[in-house]
């Protein structure tokens, strides 16, 4: 596949992520902050998000598996996940966290377990999408092309 085709495929793929609500404008901000002095900025931030989220999801699973659930602790973890997903623009993960927090407040064990499943699902979805997108970018760069900037004019 030649570079032009790859670039078009990347643009279409990235646009679909915005259209489907996986990513929001904050992700665009990250891309805009990337420059020659820090060409791997987006990859670095996204990697931090993956590491951070996986740890938090483990902590949440354990916290909700206790005989006496400490909802304050659960809420603290969700708060952190909400923050980091918001910082990278992972909109659906962020929204799932917002719902999660309201059930923590109610101390509703069944609802919070469902929320955990929901957050996990959204996380793995966006992780998959971001990895695909970053792989496409790598292929373009390896072929000597440049990453096209996305215009959100739709």
């Amino acid at each position: 596949m030649e570079v032009g085709q790859m670039q078009r495929r990347l643009v279409d793929y990235t646009k679909s992520l915005f259209m489907e609500g996986f990513l929001d404008a904050q992700f665009l901000q990250l891309q805009q902050l990337q420059d020659e002095s820090n060409p791997d900025f987006v990859v670095e931030v996204v990697s931090l998000f993956f590491d951070d989220s996986e740890k938090l999801l483990n902590d949440l699973t354990m916290a909700l598996d206790q005989p006496n659930v400490d909802f304050k602790k659960v809420d603290a973890h969700v708060h952190q996940l909400k923050g980091s997903s918001s910082s990278i623009g992972a909109q659906r993960v962020k929204n799932a966290c917002i719902a999660f927090r309201s059930f923590c407040e109610e101390q509703n064990i069944d609802a919070t377990l469902r929320c955990l499943q929901q957050v996990k699902q959204e996380y793995y979805l966006v992780k998959n999408k971001l990895e695909t997108m970053l792989r496409l970018e790598q292929q373009i760069v390896a072929a000597g092309g440049s990453i096209p900037m996305i215009e959100l004019g739709f």
Partner: protein
């Protein structure tokens, strides 16, 4: 020996316990041509400023931007400590939070924060910092000119910490 104000970059001390947010705020600030030191707690921030010891400190910090929700010392606690310190009360402090809680925002602003940013912080927020910094610099230069007439001893060299990340 007077340094022209336009030659020296403003030095911002950023405080946030989350690595992602620290990385983000650092990039936003550097993109806006600030010199940045990022630390992960209020305690480390105070240590960096030299508040916890009585030695002379050679650090010049022009603005502190801090997250609100941090374990141990919150951003609000840090704000109070800075404003209660005779050496540092004039350093402008900006607080940030991912939660939009009006009572929290008002409390910070009432107790001396110049601005309160909602996370995720945008470049447009960082652009709001400059007036606070320019105002202080003008005031400091006026004071310096006054005291230069009275002081005969040579300037003490000030150490500059360039892009130091304190973990």
């Amino acid at each position: 020996m007077v340094m022209a104000a336009s030659e020296t970059k403003f030095h911002v001390l950023a405080v946030d316990d989350t690595l992602i947010d620290r990385k983000l705020i650092e990039k936003l600030l550097k993109t806006s041509s600030y010199q940045v030191t990022a630390v992960d707690s209020g305690t480390k921030a105070l240590e960096f400023l030299g508040l916890n010891n009585n030695d002379h400190h050679d650090v010049e910090v022009n603005l502190i931007i801090t997250d609100y929700c941090m374990p141990g010392m919150t951003g609000y606690d840090l704000l109070r400590k800075i404003k209660e310190s005779s050496s540092f009360k004039d350093i402008p402090v900006v607080t940030m939070s991912s939660d939009n809680i009006p009572s929290r925002i008002n409390r910070c602003l009432e107790d001396g924060a110049e601005e309160f940013f909602l996370k995720p912080v945008q470049l447009s927020d960082v652009n709001k910092l400059r007036p606070h910094l320019m105002k202080r610099r003008t005031q400091t230069n006026v004071n310096k000119r006054k005291s230069m007439d009275e002081i005969v001893s040579p300037d003490r060299a000030r150490a500059r910490y360039n892009e130091l990340e304190v973990k």
